[in-house]
Amino acid sequence: MYGGDEVSAIVVDLGSHTCKAGYAGEDAPKAVFPSVVGSIDQMEIDDADNSDKNSGSGPESKSKGKRKLYVGSQDLGFRRDHMEVLSPTKDGIVVDWDMVENIWDHALRKCLLVDPKEHPMLLAEPCSNTQQQREKTAEIMFEKYQVPALFLAKNAVLTSFASGRATSLVVDCGGGSTTVAPVHDGYVLQKAVATSPIGGEFLTDCLLRSLEHKGLSIKPRYAFKRKEIRPGEFQIVDLDFPNTTESYKLYCQRVIVGDIKECVCRAPDTPYDETSYSNIPMTPYELPDGQTIEIGADRFKIPDVLFNPSLVQTIPGMESFVETASSARGLPQMVIESINKCDVDIRRELFSSILLAGGTASMQQLKERLEKDLLEESPQAARVKVLASGNATERRFSVWIGGSILASLGSFQQMWFSKSEYEEHGASYIQRKCP
Protein backbone atom coordinates (compact mmCIF):
# COMPACT_ATOMS: atom_id res chain seq x y z
CA MET A 1 0.00 0.00 0.00
CA TYR A 2 1.22 3.43 -0.84
CA GLY A 3 0.23 6.03 1.68
CA GLY A 4 1.42 9.38 0.43
CA ASP A 5 -1.54 11.54 -0.41
CA GLU A 6 0.16 14.78 0.58
CA VAL A 7 2.00 14.94 -2.72
CA SER A 8 -0.19 15.15 -5.74
CA ALA A 9 0.11 12.47 -8.35
CA ILE A 10 1.06 13.12 -11.96
CA VAL A 11 -1.34 12.05 -14.70
CA VAL A 12 -0.07 11.43 -18.22
CA ASP A 13 -2.19 10.49 -21.22
CA LEU A 14 0.03 9.81 -24.20
CA GLY A 15 -2.30 9.77 -27.17
CA SER A 16 -1.50 9.10 -30.80
CA HIS A 17 -1.62 12.81 -31.60
CA THR A 18 -1.13 14.77 -28.39
CA CYS A 19 0.43 14.08 -25.04
CA LYS A 20 -1.52 15.40 -22.06
CA ALA A 21 0.23 15.73 -18.71
CA GLY A 22 -0.59 17.48 -15.46
CA TYR A 23 -1.22 17.26 -11.74
CA ALA A 24 -3.97 15.05 -10.36
CA GLY A 25 -6.86 17.02 -8.91
CA GLU A 26 -6.72 19.80 -11.49
CA ASP A 27 -9.42 20.43 -14.08
CA ALA A 28 -7.24 20.32 -17.18
CA PRO A 29 -3.77 19.12 -18.11
CA LYS A 30 -0.96 21.67 -17.65
CA ALA A 31 1.08 20.43 -20.60
CA VAL A 32 -0.39 19.56 -23.98
CA PHE A 33 2.08 18.95 -26.80
CA PRO A 34 2.38 16.80 -29.93
CA SER A 35 3.27 13.18 -29.31
CA VAL A 36 5.59 13.05 -32.28
CA VAL A 37 9.30 13.76 -32.09
CA GLY A 38 11.79 15.30 -34.45
CA SER A 39 14.83 13.15 -35.08
CA ILE A 40 18.16 13.87 -36.72
CA ASP A 41 20.54 11.03 -37.43
CA GLN A 42 23.92 12.00 -36.07
CA MET A 43 25.58 10.76 -39.27
CA GLU A 44 24.27 13.79 -41.05
CA ILE A 45 24.81 16.17 -38.19
CA ASP A 46 27.73 17.96 -39.82
CA ASP A 47 25.73 20.37 -41.90
CA ALA A 48 22.85 20.43 -39.44
CA ASP A 49 25.15 21.64 -36.73
CA ASN A 50 24.77 25.32 -37.50
CA SER A 51 21.06 25.48 -37.12
CA ASP A 52 21.41 23.55 -33.88
CA LYS A 53 23.61 26.17 -32.32
CA ASN A 54 21.21 28.90 -33.32
CA SER A 55 18.42 27.30 -31.37
CA GLY A 56 20.71 26.82 -28.42
CA SER A 57 20.11 23.09 -28.90
CA GLY A 58 18.00 23.14 -25.77
CA PRO A 59 18.67 20.77 -22.92
CA GLU A 60 15.52 18.88 -23.83
CA SER A 61 17.05 17.67 -27.05
CA LYS A 62 18.81 14.55 -25.97
CA SER A 63 21.52 12.73 -27.79
CA LYS A 64 20.67 9.05 -27.66
CA GLY A 65 22.72 6.57 -29.61
CA LYS A 66 23.16 7.87 -33.08
CA ARG A 67 20.35 10.37 -33.21
CA LYS A 68 19.22 13.56 -31.64
CA LEU A 69 15.59 13.88 -30.63
CA TYR A 70 13.48 17.02 -30.35
CA VAL A 71 10.27 17.02 -28.32
CA GLY A 72 7.56 19.59 -27.65
CA SER A 73 5.68 22.12 -29.77
CA GLN A 74 8.43 24.70 -29.52
CA ASP A 75 11.27 22.45 -30.59
CA LEU A 76 9.17 20.95 -33.35
CA GLY A 77 8.12 24.38 -34.53
CA PHE A 78 11.71 25.19 -35.35
CA ARG A 79 12.79 23.83 -38.72
CA ARG A 80 16.09 21.95 -38.82
CA ASP A 81 17.90 20.42 -41.76
CA HIS A 82 17.37 16.66 -42.10
CA MET A 83 14.98 16.53 -39.16
CA GLU A 84 12.46 13.74 -39.65
CA VAL A 85 9.20 13.75 -37.70
CA LEU A 86 8.50 10.33 -36.28
CA SER A 87 5.81 8.83 -34.10
CA PRO A 88 6.74 6.46 -31.27
CA THR A 89 3.53 4.51 -31.63
CA LYS A 90 1.92 2.55 -34.40
CA ASP A 91 -1.74 1.54 -34.17
CA GLY A 92 -1.70 2.49 -30.50
CA ILE A 93 1.23 0.23 -29.68
CA VAL A 94 4.62 1.65 -28.73
CA VAL A 95 7.29 0.73 -31.26
CA ASP A 96 10.08 3.01 -30.08
CA TRP A 97 10.57 3.17 -26.30
CA ASP A 98 13.45 5.56 -26.60
CA MET A 99 11.12 8.19 -28.04
CA VAL A 100 8.46 7.51 -25.45
CA GLU A 101 11.03 8.07 -22.71
CA ASN A 102 11.98 11.35 -24.34
CA ILE A 103 8.35 12.41 -24.37
CA TRP A 104 7.93 11.47 -20.69
CA ASP A 105 11.14 13.33 -19.89
CA HIS A 106 9.86 16.40 -21.64
CA ALA A 107 6.48 16.24 -19.92
CA LEU A 108 7.87 15.69 -16.43
CA ARG A 109 11.08 17.63 -16.37
CA LYS A 110 10.45 20.43 -18.87
CA CYS A 111 6.72 21.11 -18.67
CA LEU A 112 5.72 20.16 -15.14
CA LEU A 113 9.14 20.66 -13.57
CA VAL A 114 8.79 17.78 -11.18
CA ASP A 115 11.09 15.10 -9.91
CA PRO A 116 9.38 11.81 -10.81
CA LYS A 117 10.90 10.19 -7.71
CA GLU A 118 8.51 12.20 -5.57
CA HIS A 119 5.20 11.73 -7.33
CA PRO A 120 2.97 8.72 -7.91
CA MET A 121 2.26 8.36 -11.60
CA LEU A 122 -1.03 7.48 -13.25
CA LEU A 123 -0.76 6.64 -16.93
CA ALA A 124 -3.69 6.23 -19.29
CA GLU A 125 -3.30 3.33 -21.68
CA PRO A 126 -5.16 2.32 -24.82
CA CYS A 127 -7.53 -0.65 -24.56
CA SER A 128 -5.34 -2.59 -26.95
CA ASN A 129 -2.25 -2.44 -24.73
CA THR A 130 -0.58 -5.84 -24.50
CA GLN A 131 0.76 -7.49 -21.35
CA GLN A 132 4.33 -7.03 -22.52
CA GLN A 133 3.74 -3.33 -23.10
CA ARG A 134 2.32 -2.90 -19.60
CA GLU A 135 5.23 -4.71 -17.99
CA LYS A 136 7.72 -2.72 -19.98
CA THR A 137 6.00 0.50 -18.89
CA ALA A 138 6.15 -0.56 -15.25
CA GLU A 139 9.80 -1.46 -15.62
CA ILE A 140 10.77 1.90 -17.08
CA MET A 141 8.70 3.83 -14.56
CA PHE A 142 10.16 2.06 -11.53
CA GLU A 143 13.74 1.52 -12.78
CA LYS A 144 14.44 4.65 -14.75
CA TYR A 145 12.17 7.24 -13.16
CA GLN A 146 12.05 5.53 -9.76
CA VAL A 147 8.48 6.61 -9.18
CA PRO A 148 7.15 5.77 -5.70
CA ALA A 149 3.93 4.31 -7.14
CA LEU A 150 2.30 3.64 -10.46
CA PHE A 151 -1.15 2.98 -11.85
CA LEU A 152 -2.27 2.14 -15.36
CA ALA A 153 -5.87 2.90 -16.25
CA LYS A 154 -7.66 2.18 -19.48
CA ASN A 155 -8.67 5.20 -21.58
CA ALA A 156 -12.23 4.01 -22.02
CA VAL A 157 -12.74 3.33 -18.32
CA LEU A 158 -11.53 6.79 -17.36
CA THR A 159 -13.84 8.44 -19.90
CA SER A 160 -16.75 6.35 -18.72
CA PHE A 161 -16.17 7.14 -15.04
CA ALA A 162 -15.71 10.84 -15.75
CA SER A 163 -19.19 10.92 -17.24
CA GLY A 164 -20.62 9.21 -14.17
CA ARG A 165 -21.19 5.81 -15.68
CA ALA A 166 -19.68 2.47 -14.79
CA THR A 167 -21.32 0.93 -17.84
CA SER A 168 -21.19 2.65 -21.22
CA LEU A 169 -20.01 2.40 -24.78
CA VAL A 170 -17.08 4.74 -25.28
CA VAL A 171 -16.55 6.05 -28.80
CA ASP A 172 -13.11 7.62 -28.75
CA CYS A 173 -12.40 9.59 -31.93
CA GLY A 174 -8.75 10.27 -31.49
CA GLY A 175 -6.00 11.63 -33.68
CA GLY A 176 -4.57 8.40 -35.02
CA SER A 177 -7.54 6.08 -34.74
CA THR A 178 -11.10 5.63 -33.62
CA THR A 179 -11.84 3.11 -30.90
CA VAL A 180 -15.23 1.85 -29.80
CA ALA A 181 -15.00 0.12 -26.43
CA PRO A 182 -17.80 -1.22 -24.23
CA VAL A 183 -17.18 -0.74 -20.52
CA HIS A 184 -19.15 -2.82 -18.04
CA ASP A 185 -18.99 -2.16 -14.29
CA GLY A 186 -15.64 -0.47 -14.76
CA TYR A 187 -14.01 -3.10 -16.96
CA VAL A 188 -13.41 -2.98 -20.71
CA LEU A 189 -14.97 -5.91 -22.56
CA GLN A 190 -11.89 -6.60 -24.66
CA LYS A 191 -13.52 -9.00 -27.11
CA ALA A 192 -16.00 -6.41 -28.27
CA VAL A 193 -13.56 -3.54 -28.83
CA ALA A 194 -13.59 -2.22 -32.40
CA THR A 195 -10.93 0.06 -33.88
CA SER A 196 -10.42 1.80 -37.17
CA PRO A 197 -7.42 3.75 -38.45
CA ILE A 198 -9.64 6.68 -39.39
CA GLY A 199 -9.10 9.45 -36.89
CA GLY A 200 -8.55 13.18 -36.94
CA GLU A 201 -5.16 12.88 -38.59
CA PHE A 202 -6.62 10.87 -41.46
CA LEU A 203 -9.29 13.50 -42.05
CA THR A 204 -6.62 16.21 -42.02
CA ASP A 205 -4.69 14.31 -44.69
CA CYS A 206 -7.84 13.95 -46.81
CA LEU A 207 -8.43 17.69 -46.62
CA LEU A 208 -4.79 18.47 -47.39
CA ARG A 209 -4.77 16.29 -50.51
CA SER A 210 -8.09 17.62 -51.65
CA LEU A 211 -6.89 21.23 -51.32
CA GLU A 212 -3.67 20.44 -53.13
CA HIS A 213 -5.61 18.83 -55.93
CA LYS A 214 -7.54 22.08 -56.36
CA GLY A 215 -4.21 23.79 -56.94
CA LEU A 216 -3.93 25.41 -53.53
CA SER A 217 -0.56 25.10 -51.93
CA ILE A 218 -0.37 25.01 -48.17
CA LYS A 219 2.89 26.77 -47.39
CA PRO A 220 4.42 25.70 -44.09
CA ARG A 221 5.24 28.64 -41.83
CA TYR A 222 9.01 28.14 -42.24
CA ALA A 223 8.83 28.37 -46.03
CA PHE A 224 8.16 32.11 -46.24
CA LYS A 225 8.81 35.41 -44.58
CA ARG A 226 6.06 37.97 -44.16
CA LYS A 227 7.23 41.57 -44.23
CA GLU A 228 5.17 44.66 -43.60
CA ILE A 229 6.18 47.00 -46.41
CA ARG A 230 3.54 49.64 -45.69
CA PRO A 231 1.18 49.69 -42.72
CA GLY A 232 -1.36 46.95 -43.33
CA GLU A 233 0.35 45.76 -46.47
CA PHE A 234 2.44 42.66 -46.47
CA GLN A 235 4.93 41.11 -48.78
CA ILE A 236 5.57 37.40 -48.86
CA VAL A 237 9.09 36.25 -49.57
CA ASP A 238 9.47 32.56 -50.25
CA LEU A 239 12.37 30.89 -48.54
CA ASP A 240 13.95 27.72 -49.76
CA PHE A 241 15.40 25.05 -47.50
CA PRO A 242 16.34 22.10 -49.69
CA ASN A 243 17.40 19.97 -46.71
CA THR A 244 13.98 19.95 -45.13
CA THR A 245 12.57 16.44 -44.92
CA GLU A 246 9.21 15.44 -46.39
CA SER A 247 7.98 14.30 -43.00
CA TYR A 248 8.70 17.68 -41.44
CA LYS A 249 6.96 19.48 -44.27
CA LEU A 250 3.95 17.21 -43.83
CA TYR A 251 3.98 17.80 -40.07
CA CYS A 252 3.86 21.57 -40.61
CA GLN A 253 1.18 21.33 -43.25
CA ARG A 254 -0.90 19.12 -40.97
CA VAL A 255 -0.76 21.75 -38.25
CA ILE A 256 -2.23 24.31 -40.64
CA VAL A 257 -4.77 22.04 -42.31
CA GLY A 258 -5.77 20.64 -38.91
CA ASP A 259 -6.76 24.16 -37.95
CA ILE A 260 -8.71 24.67 -41.19
CA LYS A 261 -10.54 21.43 -40.44
CA GLU A 262 -11.42 22.50 -36.91
CA CYS A 263 -12.63 25.89 -38.13
CA VAL A 264 -14.78 25.03 -41.12
CA CYS A 265 -15.66 21.34 -41.17
CA ARG A 266 -18.88 19.92 -39.81
CA ALA A 267 -20.49 16.53 -40.12
CA PRO A 268 -23.33 16.58 -42.68
CA ASP A 269 -26.80 15.74 -41.38
CA THR A 270 -27.31 13.04 -44.00
CA PRO A 271 -24.81 10.90 -45.95
CA TYR A 272 -22.78 13.09 -48.26
CA ASP A 273 -23.62 13.09 -51.95
CA GLU A 274 -21.90 15.11 -54.60
CA THR A 275 -24.97 16.60 -56.28
CA SER A 276 -26.78 18.05 -53.29
CA TYR A 277 -23.63 19.68 -51.95
CA SER A 278 -22.38 21.12 -55.25
CA ASN A 279 -24.07 24.47 -54.68
CA ILE A 280 -23.35 25.14 -51.05
CA PRO A 281 -21.82 28.51 -50.21
CA MET A 282 -18.04 28.72 -49.85
CA THR A 283 -16.45 29.43 -46.50
CA PRO A 284 -13.33 31.61 -46.46
CA TYR A 285 -10.20 30.79 -44.44
CA GLU A 286 -7.06 32.88 -44.25
CA LEU A 287 -3.82 30.92 -44.45
CA PRO A 288 -0.73 32.00 -42.44
CA ASP A 289 0.77 33.54 -45.60
CA GLY A 290 -2.20 35.86 -46.00
CA GLN A 291 -3.75 33.97 -48.88
CA THR A 292 -7.49 33.48 -48.43
CA ILE A 293 -8.89 30.18 -49.62
CA GLU A 294 -12.50 29.15 -49.99
CA ILE A 295 -13.75 25.78 -48.96
CA GLY A 296 -17.00 24.42 -50.33
CA ALA A 297 -18.30 20.88 -50.37
CA ASP A 298 -15.17 19.56 -48.65
CA ARG A 299 -16.45 21.09 -45.44
CA PHE A 300 -19.02 18.31 -45.31
CA LYS A 301 -17.38 15.67 -47.42
CA ILE A 302 -14.25 15.22 -45.29
CA PRO A 303 -16.05 14.57 -41.98
CA ASP A 304 -18.38 12.14 -43.72
CA VAL A 305 -15.37 9.86 -44.26
CA LEU A 306 -15.82 8.90 -40.58
CA PHE A 307 -19.26 7.56 -41.40
CA ASN A 308 -18.49 6.18 -44.83
CA PRO A 309 -14.79 5.34 -45.29
CA SER A 310 -15.26 4.29 -48.91
CA LEU A 311 -15.73 7.97 -49.73
CA VAL A 312 -11.93 8.16 -49.70
CA GLN A 313 -11.93 6.73 -53.24
CA THR A 314 -13.38 9.98 -54.50
CA ILE A 315 -10.76 12.18 -52.86
CA PRO A 316 -7.91 12.81 -55.28
CA GLY A 317 -4.46 12.11 -53.89
CA MET A 318 -5.67 9.60 -51.31
CA GLU A 319 -5.35 6.57 -53.64
CA SER A 320 -2.72 4.90 -51.47
CA PHE A 321 -5.16 4.88 -48.57
CA VAL A 322 -8.08 3.35 -50.39
CA GLU A 323 -7.15 -0.07 -49.08
CA THR A 324 -6.95 1.08 -45.46
CA ALA A 325 -10.28 2.80 -45.84
CA SER A 326 -12.07 -0.07 -47.52
CA SER A 327 -11.25 -2.41 -44.66
CA ALA A 328 -12.45 0.16 -42.13
CA ARG A 329 -16.06 0.41 -41.03
CA GLY A 330 -18.11 3.53 -40.60
CA LEU A 331 -18.70 4.85 -37.11
CA PRO A 332 -22.33 3.64 -36.76
CA GLN A 333 -21.42 0.15 -38.00
CA MET A 334 -18.56 -0.04 -35.52
CA VAL A 335 -20.89 0.90 -32.68
CA ILE A 336 -23.50 -1.67 -33.63
CA GLU A 337 -20.95 -4.43 -34.21
CA SER A 338 -19.34 -3.76 -30.88
CA ILE A 339 -22.65 -3.80 -29.02
CA ASN A 340 -23.72 -7.00 -30.75
CA LYS A 341 -20.58 -8.73 -29.49
CA CYS A 342 -21.62 -8.02 -25.92
CA ASP A 343 -23.94 -10.02 -23.73
CA VAL A 344 -27.63 -9.53 -24.59
CA ASP A 345 -28.38 -8.36 -21.06
CA ILE A 346 -26.24 -5.25 -21.27
CA ARG A 347 -26.96 -4.19 -24.86
CA ARG A 348 -29.90 -2.05 -23.87
CA GLU A 349 -27.78 -0.20 -21.34
CA LEU A 350 -24.96 0.34 -23.84
CA PHE A 351 -27.30 1.74 -26.49
CA SER A 352 -28.57 4.31 -24.04
CA SER A 353 -25.15 5.47 -22.90
CA ILE A 354 -22.91 5.99 -25.89
CA LEU A 355 -20.17 8.42 -24.91
CA LEU A 356 -18.39 10.48 -27.52
CA ALA A 357 -14.87 11.52 -26.56
CA GLY A 358 -11.51 12.40 -28.06
CA GLY A 359 -10.22 15.34 -30.07
CA THR A 360 -12.26 14.66 -33.20
CA ALA A 361 -15.44 14.47 -31.10
CA SER A 362 -15.40 18.27 -31.06
CA MET A 363 -16.40 18.20 -34.74
CA GLN A 364 -19.65 20.12 -35.12
CA GLN A 365 -22.77 18.02 -35.53
CA LEU A 366 -20.85 14.77 -35.07
CA LYS A 367 -22.89 13.77 -32.04
CA GLU A 368 -26.21 14.60 -33.71
CA ARG A 369 -25.31 12.70 -36.88
CA LEU A 370 -24.12 9.62 -35.01
CA GLU A 371 -27.30 9.56 -32.97
CA LYS A 372 -29.43 9.90 -36.08
CA ASP A 373 -27.62 7.11 -37.95
CA LEU A 374 -27.80 4.83 -34.96
CA LEU A 375 -31.52 5.42 -34.51
CA GLU A 376 -32.03 4.20 -38.05
CA GLU A 377 -29.86 1.14 -37.73
CA SER A 378 -30.45 -0.04 -34.18
CA PRO A 379 -33.12 -2.50 -33.05
CA GLN A 380 -36.56 -0.97 -32.47
CA ALA A 381 -36.65 -1.53 -28.74
CA ALA A 382 -33.33 0.18 -28.06
CA ARG A 383 -33.31 3.67 -26.64
CA VAL A 384 -30.35 5.25 -28.39
CA LYS A 385 -28.67 8.07 -26.57
CA VAL A 386 -25.36 9.60 -27.59
CA LEU A 387 -23.76 11.73 -24.92
CA ALA A 388 -20.93 14.17 -25.18
CA SER A 389 -19.87 16.71 -22.65
CA GLY A 390 -21.10 20.17 -23.60
CA ASN A 391 -17.78 21.54 -22.48
CA ALA A 392 -15.13 21.37 -25.22
CA THR A 393 -12.26 20.89 -22.76
CA GLU A 394 -14.03 18.04 -21.04
CA ARG A 395 -14.73 16.38 -24.38
CA ARG A 396 -11.17 16.64 -25.55
CA PHE A 397 -9.50 15.71 -22.30
CA SER A 398 -12.05 13.33 -20.82
CA VAL A 399 -9.44 10.61 -20.40
CA TRP A 400 -7.01 12.90 -18.63
CA ILE A 401 -9.72 14.43 -16.44
CA GLY A 402 -10.89 10.96 -15.42
CA GLY A 403 -7.34 10.06 -14.46
CA SER A 404 -6.89 13.33 -12.63
CA ILE A 405 -9.91 12.75 -10.42
CA LEU A 406 -9.22 9.08 -9.79
CA ALA A 407 -5.62 9.69 -8.74
CA SER A 408 -6.63 12.47 -6.36
CA LEU A 409 -9.23 10.49 -4.43
CA GLY A 410 -8.24 9.85 -0.84
CA SER A 411 -9.58 6.32 -1.08
CA PHE A 412 -7.58 5.63 -4.22
CA GLN A 413 -4.27 5.87 -2.39
CA GLN A 414 -4.48 2.21 -1.38
CA MET A 415 -4.84 1.16 -5.01
CA TRP A 416 -1.42 2.20 -6.27
CA PHE A 417 1.14 -0.33 -7.43
CA SER A 418 3.91 0.71 -5.08
CA LYS A 419 7.64 0.55 -5.50
CA SER A 420 7.98 -1.98 -2.69
CA GLU A 421 5.41 -4.22 -4.34
CA TYR A 422 7.33 -3.92 -7.56
CA GLU A 423 10.54 -4.90 -5.83
CA GLU A 424 8.85 -7.85 -4.18
CA HIS A 425 6.77 -9.23 -7.04
CA GLY A 426 8.32 -7.85 -10.21
CA ALA A 427 6.84 -6.08 -13.21
CA SER A 428 4.28 -8.79 -13.98
CA TYR A 429 2.41 -7.85 -10.78
CA ILE A 430 1.00 -4.88 -12.72
CA GLN A 431 -1.51 -7.25 -14.31
CA ARG A 432 -3.00 -7.95 -10.89
CA LYS A 433 -2.82 -4.43 -9.50
CA CYS A 434 -4.20 -2.70 -12.57
CA PRO A 435 -6.54 -5.13 -14.31
Partner: protein, 137 residues
Protein backbone atom coordinates in the same frame (compact mmCIF):
# COMPACT_ATOMS: atom_id res chain seq x y z
CA UNK B 1 -10.68 -8.28 -6.42
CA UNK B 2 -12.09 -7.05 -3.20
CA UNK B 3 -11.74 -3.38 -3.90
CA UNK B 4 -13.48 -1.09 -6.30
CA UNK B 5 -11.44 0.92 -8.75
CA UNK B 6 -11.53 3.85 -6.36
CA UNK B 7 -10.84 1.88 -3.17
CA UNK B 8 -14.00 3.22 -1.47
CA UNK B 9 -15.22 1.30 1.60
CA UNK B 10 -18.81 0.42 2.52
CA UNK B 11 -20.32 1.15 5.95
CA UNK B 12 -21.89 -1.96 7.58
CA UNK B 13 -25.05 0.03 8.20
CA UNK B 14 -25.68 -0.06 4.42
CA UNK B 15 -25.69 -3.83 4.34
CA UNK B 16 -27.86 -4.10 7.47
CA UNK B 17 -30.50 -1.68 6.22
CA UNK B 18 -30.53 -3.41 2.87
CA UNK B 19 -31.11 -6.78 4.52
CA UNK B 20 -34.01 -5.28 6.46
CA UNK B 21 -35.48 -3.91 3.24
CA UNK B 22 -35.10 -7.30 1.60
CA UNK B 23 -36.17 -9.62 4.40
CA UNK B 24 -38.46 -7.66 6.70
CA UNK B 25 -39.65 -5.24 4.05
CA UNK B 26 -39.81 -2.38 6.49
CA UNK B 27 -38.44 0.21 4.05
CA UNK B 28 -39.64 1.21 0.58
CA UNK B 29 -36.34 2.65 -0.44
CA UNK B 30 -32.88 3.48 0.83
CA UNK B 31 -30.69 6.30 -0.46
CA UNK B 32 -26.95 6.02 -0.04
CA UNK B 33 -24.27 8.65 -0.36
CA UNK B 34 -20.51 8.72 -0.28
CA UNK B 35 -19.14 10.56 2.67
CA UNK B 36 -15.45 10.79 3.39
CA UNK B 37 -14.08 7.52 2.16
CA UNK B 38 -17.08 5.29 2.54
CA UNK B 39 -20.63 4.71 1.43
CA UNK B 40 -23.22 5.49 4.12
CA UNK B 41 -27.02 5.48 4.42
CA UNK B 42 -28.50 8.91 3.79
CA UNK B 43 -32.24 8.35 3.91
CA UNK B 44 -34.72 5.58 4.58
CA UNK B 45 -38.20 5.55 3.08
CA UNK B 46 -41.11 3.96 4.95
CA UNK B 47 -43.11 1.20 3.18
CA UNK B 48 -46.09 3.45 2.43
CA UNK B 49 -44.07 5.99 0.47
CA UNK B 50 -44.51 6.06 -3.30
CA UNK B 51 -42.13 6.12 -6.24
CA UNK B 52 -42.69 9.89 -6.52
CA UNK B 53 -41.60 10.33 -2.91
CA UNK B 54 -38.53 8.33 -3.76
CA UNK B 55 -37.53 10.34 -6.85
CA UNK B 56 -38.20 13.57 -4.97
CA UNK B 57 -35.64 12.48 -2.40
CA UNK B 58 -32.85 12.38 -4.96
CA UNK B 59 -30.98 15.68 -5.24
CA UNK B 60 -31.05 17.21 -8.73
CA UNK B 61 -27.39 18.12 -8.86
CA UNK B 62 -25.66 15.48 -6.78
CA UNK B 63 -24.97 11.79 -7.32
CA UNK B 64 -26.47 9.06 -5.14
CA UNK B 65 -26.98 5.32 -5.04
CA UNK B 66 -30.41 4.02 -4.21
CA UNK B 67 -32.39 0.83 -3.86
CA UNK B 68 -36.12 0.76 -4.38
CA UNK B 69 -38.46 -2.10 -3.57
CA UNK B 70 -41.01 -2.11 -6.39
CA UNK B 71 -44.38 -3.85 -5.92
CA UNK B 72 -46.37 -4.68 -9.01
CA UNK B 73 -49.00 -7.00 -10.39
CA UNK B 74 -48.13 -9.17 -13.37
CA UNK B 75 -50.43 -9.78 -16.33
CA UNK B 76 -51.44 -13.04 -14.70
CA UNK B 77 -52.65 -10.98 -11.75
CA UNK B 78 -49.90 -12.13 -9.53
CA UNK B 79 -48.47 -9.89 -6.77
CA UNK B 80 -44.72 -9.54 -7.15
CA UNK B 81 -41.89 -7.33 -6.06
CA UNK B 82 -38.45 -6.58 -7.39
CA UNK B 83 -35.53 -4.76 -5.86
CA UNK B 84 -34.01 -2.05 -8.07
CA UNK B 85 -30.55 -0.62 -7.73
CA UNK B 86 -30.26 2.86 -9.18
CA UNK B 87 -27.05 4.76 -9.79
CA UNK B 88 -28.19 8.38 -9.95
CA UNK B 89 -25.64 10.62 -11.61
CA UNK B 90 -27.28 13.79 -12.98
CA UNK B 91 -25.52 15.61 -15.82
CA UNK B 92 -25.41 18.77 -13.75
CA UNK B 93 -23.40 17.22 -10.93
CA UNK B 94 -19.70 17.89 -10.73
CA UNK B 95 -17.32 15.69 -12.75
CA UNK B 96 -15.46 14.76 -9.61
CA UNK B 97 -18.60 13.48 -7.97
CA UNK B 98 -19.62 11.50 -11.05
CA UNK B 99 -16.20 9.91 -11.13
CA UNK B 100 -16.30 8.93 -7.46
CA UNK B 101 -19.73 7.35 -7.70
CA UNK B 102 -19.11 5.56 -11.00
CA UNK B 103 -15.81 4.09 -9.92
CA UNK B 104 -17.17 2.86 -6.59
CA UNK B 105 -20.43 1.43 -7.88
CA UNK B 106 -19.28 -2.05 -8.78
CA UNK B 107 -17.93 -2.84 -5.35
CA UNK B 108 -20.86 -1.32 -3.52
CA UNK B 109 -23.43 -3.18 -5.59
CA UNK B 110 -21.74 -6.46 -4.84
CA UNK B 111 -22.11 -5.79 -1.12
CA UNK B 112 -25.88 -5.73 -1.56
CA UNK B 113 -26.88 -9.28 -2.25
CA UNK B 114 -30.31 -9.64 -3.82
CA UNK B 115 -30.59 -6.79 -6.31
CA UNK B 116 -32.73 -7.86 -9.24
CA UNK B 117 -32.63 -4.93 -11.63
CA UNK B 118 -29.92 -2.36 -12.09
CA UNK B 119 -30.35 1.06 -13.64
CA UNK B 120 -28.06 4.01 -14.25
CA UNK B 121 -29.72 7.34 -14.73
CA UNK B 122 -28.38 10.76 -15.63
CA UNK B 123 -31.69 12.59 -15.85
CA UNK B 124 -35.18 11.92 -14.49
CA UNK B 125 -36.41 10.57 -17.84
CA UNK B 126 -34.01 7.65 -17.57
CA UNK B 127 -35.70 6.44 -14.40
CA UNK B 128 -39.31 7.37 -15.10
CA UNK B 129 -42.00 5.16 -13.64
CA UNK B 130 -42.67 3.70 -17.11
CA UNK B 131 -39.10 2.52 -17.41
CA UNK B 132 -39.26 0.97 -13.96
CA UNK B 133 -42.42 -0.89 -14.90
CA UNK B 134 -40.90 -2.06 -18.16
CA UNK B 135 -37.70 -3.27 -16.53
CA UNK B 136 -39.59 -5.15 -13.82
CA UNK B 137 -41.06 -7.53 -16.36
Amino acid sequence: MANSASGMAVDDECKLKFLELKAKRNYRFIIFKIEGQQVVVEKLGSPDESYEDFTASLPSDECRYAVFDFDFTTNENCQKSKIFFIAWSPDSSRVRMKMVYASSKDRFKRELDGIQVELQATDPSEMSFDIIKERAR
